[in-house]
């Protein structure tokens, strides 16, 4: 066996591919093997088993979607081999790797010719199979004679394949069909099912491609009928039985051919009516197989000239299909009904309701079919009903359906509208429901519709659009239509009057109209097109209103855009502004437009408009086509109105305070819901009394938004709007009144009152947030200036989103109705429990008595899952409560602080004035970690090492035990002895600052004469000679005693008691240290390149020891003493060892490190950590940069400036070591890892919080960690949820109060210099 060494077997190859852990590994394996196969091909081995092995591997590559062209020739070589194994694989490879377009395929023709005449039927079969699948035109011509003769061989195995092969040949070369027709007819009488099946297939294909042949085959109708009859009445035939039905494949084929033959021929129709009726009535419809035959029969019945009774039968079968539970059957029914709706419109109409039901099916395939079908059903008589249903569907449809739906509904409305009023109402509804998905043509045809209507209808339209816009300005097409109609028919709108029987609309004042249009211009939903429409609308209004002050107002609004960056808007602004100077012309120009004339060429809005009025179409009317293109371009530019920023943390259910359905939970089942009522009053102790931190400037009233913008609870709808006080301070009163309208929209009116008698307020703005599941429309405030005793108002509208998760909830509710037990299989963690309770609450709404069980599982291994199913548990209420608590806290805290930060910092640090500076209780600690590391990495050279604070009793006791090895009792006893002896001051004191009057120099002077005993005489002398420095001042003063200090000199020999001696020494040395200068040191970082490796080492050099000279207990040194180097110096290492090390100098924080920190501090869960990290990047608090580009990395380290001071020297020392000490010179790889560097904003935020509330800073993980601990306590039943919420809120409120009190500090924090400035520092 000459088995090549480079050859691996197919199995080995497959295993290697499957064992690849990464895509890169897999590619490597594949490429290596491809190369090996090519190399092996070049060697031209005589052993066909090698070639087979190679080709088999090649086929595996093909399955993987790889390029395999280089192996095509090898397949051909293989199939030319006399061995069957070679042929079999060779033909398989040829079929898979080659197709008719490959040149090399012609090389097969000869082999095929030989094999078609082979004595072994399987060799012939392989050749036929190949020819039938991939024959090219040339091959068809070359080999058709062989196929023709094989068609009449005695061997059915060959005959059936030859039939399908003939099909391929005739498709390739239709001229060849005459050679086959006669032999084909014989196939119809074949007794072998396979041959008959293939023969039928061939004939169907022939007839479809050449309808002239149909007549030729009609004579065989009786034979076909007989065969079908035999199949349907046959007893059990195991070989062809499929669940009790004999050869459904053959039955379907016969039905297909009957359809082809019977189409349009009543004679054939008559012959087959009976058998069709028989199939349609006798076929078992309980299984898919039976239905596949029924389906085919129905298609045939509906397609031929069947008698009417049979047709009804067919339609009824489809009706039955429609109500089948199996989605497949329903899909097929819908699909078929679409095909027959034109033939049997009435029969299909009967199933209208079922079809409309399918619009709500969860399966998109079904919904699509149902939607398509619904549109085909529309006619004059049902237009009202169907459009109503379709509009209802439009309301809940996915966005992907909307563009087509709006078009279809409007086209149908135009086609079948019973009257104009209905037509207008319908389009109006479309605009309201999906105004952001309406095509330009629809909009223009709507406007044309109104323009061609009666004055009454124009009034009606103007009124309707006016009131629609007053409730919703977020739907673009609605806004556009409204703007046009209100501008054009403003006079009618003002004149008022009701249309027909309608209730009278409210009187509209001139100022109301201008208010509405300008408010849209000021809103966030305006885009250029809307802007242009409204400008034109306002301009028209100047001739339709009479109040000169309103005209003047319009003029101001219009000219305000004269500096718009958009050319069109600017041009309009300037032109319209000029038009005011020519009053006579203005009236003429702005007259009403004559109704458009032609309908056919009216794609463009302004077609046939003779006046000089400008609309947004720039292309002249004679080129409607390009004009339309232009319009579409404009529309494409549109961006859907941005929803206002909302807090992502919120959960629909918790925040859904506007929906009355949320509150009446089953009382026992959902204790979590009890606190829903006051959830939004962040930090507010009561339900309406909201505490607002004071702020200095009463004029800057924006702070009021911090807590109370959303009131507690909607009042009962019947009670009418009640005003809820939300804020009352600094002479500003804000009340909110809520009103829920019939469509579930909550309108909130915010009323601002300035109580001051003299001062006016300015720059008022209100901010509000809603959870993602709701939509907030914040209308502009009526005035941002509030003179004394004046009022301003602002409208908000909150709407629960139709989609979001509502459909899931509905589904649960619906399914629960018909269920006894609900088994909850959510993840077995806290969040899972919580979701479980949510599911339960919805299930109970659908079925109050449903039994709820919960599966406890940790993996989805089979036995485990079964065990979990057998041992159901109850939901863990406590865990759910803990999650509810956390969500509530996250939302309340996040909303308050985000608002606060955003308002305070907008416009600073280069932030845009509308920047969102979010706060999240996980987000910020995450940022804190990054900034903390950044601050450490920043290099401070030299750094100061702080001398100790003046000595207090507590400190004496602590240090006594640490340095002197004495317990506190002994220390105090000795100190008291010293005190009574008059050597030291009173040893019981809390003061750690020296009074300014105390003469420290004199006290030092008493020690300077010590020469031998203690050894500090010289040092004290030096202090007096200029080294003295005022001691640091601690924070404590008991106003009774000074810090402990020596009052007289005691020679060492004079103190006999060992304890007293030690304590005295400590007191004096401590005192002298207090009066000394801080020590100075430098950290040195050496970075050197050796070969390709980079090395870093850090060491500390103390430059000036200062107090350390006299205070031996403080040690400040690093484990590493470094020689002195100069930058760029080369040196030859004496010894080089390469140790595997894990430590590298800490650079900026890498993601793994950050995650480890978050994990250790309980920030986020494994599921959300990445989200938090992502969030702080999105907010641009930190940036992720390549490790190499951050030159400061590993450069040096020190304590954060300004933080260590207050805590004494020890703390500082500790943090130095904690942050630093990279042990030794370990190799640091310069890999492509990414690290996080905070932005100026990020640093500023963290510094601000650290500075303001150093012990409880929001950037530190403590508060969050505590919250996590409390959550655990809720889970264990140790604490009630409310308690935890209040406790946490109290803590955050404290910080909030501090932050807002020290607002200026918050603002003044300066962002540090860019992180890239820090360079590697080498010390000479």
């Amino acid at each position: 066996m000459a088995f090549n060494f480079s050859q691996s077997s197919l199995k080995q190859f497959i295993r290697a591919v499957r064992a690849s852990k990464t895509i890169a590994d897999e590619r490597a394996v594949i490429q290596k093997e491809s190369a090996a196969i090519r190399a092996s091909f070049r060697e031209e081995s005589a052993d066909s088993s090698i070639r087979r092995n190679n080709v088999a591997k090649l086929l595996y590559l093909f399955t993987l979607g790889e390029r395999t062209h280089f192996g095509q020739i090898e397949c051909l070589k293989l199939l030319a081999s006399p061995r069957f194994a070679d042929k079999r694989l060779g033909y398989l490879g040829t079929m898979l790797l080659l197709d008719e377009n490959q040149e090399v395929l012609t090389l097969v023709t000869n082999s095929l010719k030989n094999d078609l005449n082979h004595s072994n039927q399987y060799v012939v079969g392989l050749a036929l199979c190949t020819l039938g699948n991939i024959a090219s035109t040339e091959m068809a011509r070359d080999l058709f004679q062989e196929i023709e003769s094989l068609l009449s061989t005695a061997n059915p195995y060959i005959r059936k394949k030859a039939a399908l092969c003939a099909m391929r040949i005739i498709r390739k070369v239709p001229d060849l069909q005459e050679h086959f027709i006669e032999k084909t007819k014989l196939l119809l009488q074949d007794r072998n099912h396979g041959v008959l099946l293939c023969g039928l297939t061939l004939i169907i294909d022939l007839c479809i491609h050449d309808p002239d042949l149909v007549d030729d085959f009609k004579q065989y109708t009786p034979i076909l009928v007989k065969q079908l009859k035999a199949l349907t009445t046959a007893g059990y035939a195991p070989e062809h039985d499929v669940t009790g039905i004999t050869d459904p494949f053959l039955q379907v084929k016969i039905l297909q051919l009957l359809r082809v033959l019977g189409r349009g021929d009543s004679g054939v129709g008559e012959q087959i009516n009976d058998i069709l009726a028989q199939v349609a009535t006798n076929t078992d419809s309980s299984k898919n197989v039976g239905n596949s035959i029924l389906y085919e029969a129905v298609l045939t019945i509906l397609d031929i000239e069947a008698d009417s009774g049979l047709r009804v039968l067919g339609i009824n079968i489809l009706g039955k299909f429609l109500s089948n539970k199996d989605n497949n059957i329903r899909y097929v029914a819908l699909n078929t009904l679409i095909k027959v709706v034109n033939l049997e419109p009435n029969a299909v109409q009967r199933h209208r309701n079922t079809i409309l039901d399918c619009l709500r099916d969860p399966d998109i395939s079904i919904r699509r079919r149902a939607l398509d079908l619904s549109f085909t059903l529309i006619n004059d008589s049902n237009i009202r009903v169907l459009v109503r249903e379709l509009l209802a569907f439009l309301e809940v449809a996915n966005n992907e359906f909307k563009p087509a739906m709006t078009t279809q509904i409007c086209i149908a409305a135009e086609k079948f509208a019973p009257n104009k009023r209905w037509h207008i109402d319908t389009v109006l509804r479309v605009l309201k429901l999906a105004g952001n998905f309406v095509k330009e043509q629809i909009l223009s045809s709507f406007i044309r519709l109104i323009a061609t209507s009666t004055v009454d209808l124009q009034t009606y339209s103007a009124q309707k659009l006016y009131s629609a816009l007053r409730t919703d300005i977020t739907q673009e097409a609605l806004t556009l239509a409204g703007a046009w109609v209100i501008g054009e028919y403003g006079d009618l709108l003002l004149k008022g009057g009701a249309y027909e029987e309608d209730e009278t609309v409210q009187e509209v004042k001139e100022s109301d109209i201008v208010d509405l249009l300008t408010s849209i211009l000021d809103s966030a939903y305006v885009n250029n097109v809307i802007h242009e429409y409204i400008m034109t609308s306002l301009m028209k209004l100047t001739t339709r209103i009479s109040d000169p002050s309103q005209v003047e107002r319009v003029r101001r609004v219009l000219t305000a855009s004269s500096d718009s960056l958009d050319v069109e808007i600017q041009q309009r602004s300037v032109e319209y502004g000029n038009l005011f100077g020519h009053d006579g012309v203005r009236r003429g120009v702005l007259e009403k437009m004559p109704p458009p004339e032609a309908r056919a060429e009216d794609r463009v809005l302004t077609d046939g408009a003779p006046s000089g009025k400008k609309t947004k179409i720039k292309t002249p009317a004679p080129k409607p086509k390009s004009g339309a293109d232009d319009l579409l371009d404009l529309l494409n530019d549109e961006t859907p109105a941005n929803p206002p920023p909302s807090q992502a943390n919120g959960h629909a259910d918790i925040l859904d305070l506007f929906s009355p359905t949320t509150s009446p939970q089953p009382p026992q089942s959902q204790p979590a819901a009890s606190s829903v009522s006051n959830i939004m009053e962040l930090f507010g102790p009561g339900s309406s009394n909201i505490s607002i931190p004071t702020h200095s400037a009463p004029t800057s009233s924006s702070l009021l938004g911090d807590l109370g913008s959303t009131p507690s609870q909607a009042p009962a709808p019947s009670s009418g709007p009640t005003a809820h006080p939300a804020y009352n301070k600094n002479n500003l009163v804000l009340t909110l009144s809520l009103q829920r309208n019939s469509e579930g929209i909550v309108a909130i009116l915010a009323r601002f009152q300035n109580l001051s008698l003299t001062d006016s307020m300015h720059g008022i703005s209100l901010q509000a947030a809603v959870p993602k599941s709701q939509k907030l429309q914040l209308m502009p405030i009526s005035s941002t200036e509030l003179p004394a005793q004046e009022e301003a108002t602002q409208q908000m509208r909150v709407q629960g989103s139709q989609k979001s998760k509502q459909s899931i909830a509905d589904n649960i509710q619906r399914e629960a109705r018909s269920a006894k037990i609900l088994f909850i299989w959510t993840d077995c963690d806290r969040e899972g429990e919580y979701i479980g309770t949510e599911v339960r609450s919805f299930a109970r709404r659908g079925n109050a008595s449903i039994e709820i069980r919960r599966a406890q599982f940790s993996n989805i291994e089979r036995t485990h899952v079964i065990r979990a199913a057998n041992n159901p548990k109850d939901l863990d209420e406590r865990q759910a409560l803990a999650v509810a608590a956390r969500m509530e806290l996250d939302l309340r805290i996040g909303a308050a602080l985000t608002r606060f930060q955003s308002l305070k910092l907008q416009g600073r640090y280069g932030l845009p004035p509308d920047a969102l500076i979010s706060y999240g209780s996980c987000q910020f600690p995450t940022l804190g970690f990054v900034v903390d590391r950044y601050m450490r990495v920043k290099n401070f050279v030299p750094e100061t090492f702080c001398k100790p604070l003046p000595l207090t009793t507590v400190e004496l006791q602590k240090q006594g035990s640490r340095f002197l090895g004495m317990n506190s009792q002994r220390v105090m006893k000795a100190a008291e002895g010293l005190y009574t002896s008059g050597f030291i001051s009173y040893p019981r004191t809390e003061t750690d600052q020296y009074d300014h009057n105390i003469d420290l120099q004199a006290l030092i002077g008493k020690q300077k004469d010590d020469t031998a005993g203690w050894g500090w005489g010289t040092y004290a002398g030096n202090l007096l000679n200029g080294e003295f420095e005022q001691p640091r001042r601690g924070k404590h003063n008991d106003k009774a005693h000074p810090p402990i200090h020596p009052v007289a000199y005691a020679a060492a020999s004079a103190l006999h008691d060992g304890d007293q001696r030690k304590v005295y020494e400590f007191v004096v040395r401590h005192f002298l240290a207090c009066c000394s200068k801080d020590a100075l040191g430098e950290t040195t970082t050496v970075s050197l390149d050796y070969g390709n490796e980079g090395f870093h080492a850090s060491g500390l050099t103390v430059i000036e020891r200062n107090y350390l000279e006299v205070y031996p207990w403080d040690r400040w040194e690093s484990s590493q003493m470094l020689p002195q180097y100069r930058e760029g110096e080369r040196f030859v290492p004496g010894e080089v060892t390469m140790n595997d090390g894990k430590t590298t100098a800490p650079g900026f924080l890498t993601e793994p490190e950050l995650i480890a920190l978050m994990d250790a501090n309980g920030i986020g869960t494994d599921a959300t950590m990445a989200e938090h990290i992502e969030k702080i990047q999105v907010r641009e608090y930190v940036f992720s940069v390549a490790k190499n580009s951050s030159t400061g990395a590993g450069a040096g380290r020190g304590t954060g400036r300004g933080r260590g001071r207050g805590r004494g020297a020890r703390a500082a020392s500790g943090s130095t070591r904690g942050g630093g000490s990279a042990g030794g010179s370990s190799g640091s790889s310069s890999g492509g890892n990414r690290v996080f560097v905070p932005s100026n904003l990020g640093v500023a935020l963290v510094e601000a919080y650290d500075l303001i509330a150093s012990d409880m800073s929001l950037s530190k993980p403590f508060l969050r960690k505590e919250m996590e601990v409390n959550m655990k306590k809720i889970c264990n039943g140790e604490l009630p949820k409310e308690h935890v919420v209040h406790q946490s809120l109290d803590q955050y409120r404290e910080v909030y109060a501090k932050v807002s009190q020290r607002l200026e500090m918050f603002r003044q924090v300066r962002a540090p210099a860019s992180p890239t400035q820090k360079q590697l520092l080498l010390v000479d």
């Binding site: 086929l59 194994a85 398989l92 099946l197 297939t201 479809i208 497949n328 899909y331 549109f375 279809q408």
Partner: protein, 182 residues
């Protein structure tokens, strides 16, 4: 009027077998595999086994504006229907013409699975991965030019096993020749 392609796809989206009855470039094939895989893998269990792939919206609008009889609906070549069914860890996916009988296509797919089950003996995904040639051989005895060629349950497997034994005989002959020749 026929099956255009058969793809066997694992739940992880790996192709285990692909057979094409229409002429397409490698690029086109890979595109179809990618898009159809995404469609199929995103389906839930109780949804129907049929999907439309490409070119749907235009057809509907056409239907509405210019009503046509059922036989006259022009089909764009890209319009196919995807019929799929999941068996254990494998999706069996068949691309068919728009007006094929979807239900009988499901039965054809099922027949293929049945035959493999009998041939491999309780077929599982690994059988098909490591012995994919056999899976192709069975398919080639079942379908030709995208059409079912054999409706008998016995015939397909009988042909396969006879061909297998032809191969075995050749191996035996080799061994004997080698023994005789030394």
């Amino acid at each position: 009027m026929a099956i255009r392609y058969i793809i066997l796809l694992s739940r992880q989206g790996k192709v285990r077998l692909s057979k094409w009855f229409t002429t397409l470039s490698l690029k086109e094939k890979n595109k179809i595999i990618k898009e159809v895989s995404q469609l199929v893998l995103s389906r839930r269990t109780r949804m129907c086994n049929f999907l439309e792939y490409k070119g749907r919206v235009f057809q509907v609008i056409q239907l509405l504006i210019v009503p046509r009889a059922l036989t006259q609906i022009p089909l764009r070549p890209a319009d196919t229907r995807v019929v799929y069914r999941r068996y254990a860890s494998l999706f069996f996916i068949a691309g068919t013409d728009q007006n094929d009988n979807e239900l009988i296509t499901l039965e054809i797919v099922h027949r293929y699975v049945e035959q493999m089950d009998k041939y491999y003996g309780n077929v599982c995904e690994l059988d098909i991965i490591f012995n994919f040639q056999k899976a192709y051989f069975i398919l080639d005895e079942l379908l030709l030019a995208g059409e079912l060629q054999e409706s008998s349950k016995k015939n397909v497997l009988r042909c396969i096993s006879q061909q297998d034994s032809l191969e075995d005989m050749e191996v035996e002959e080799d061994t004997i020749t080698k023994l005789m020749g030394g």
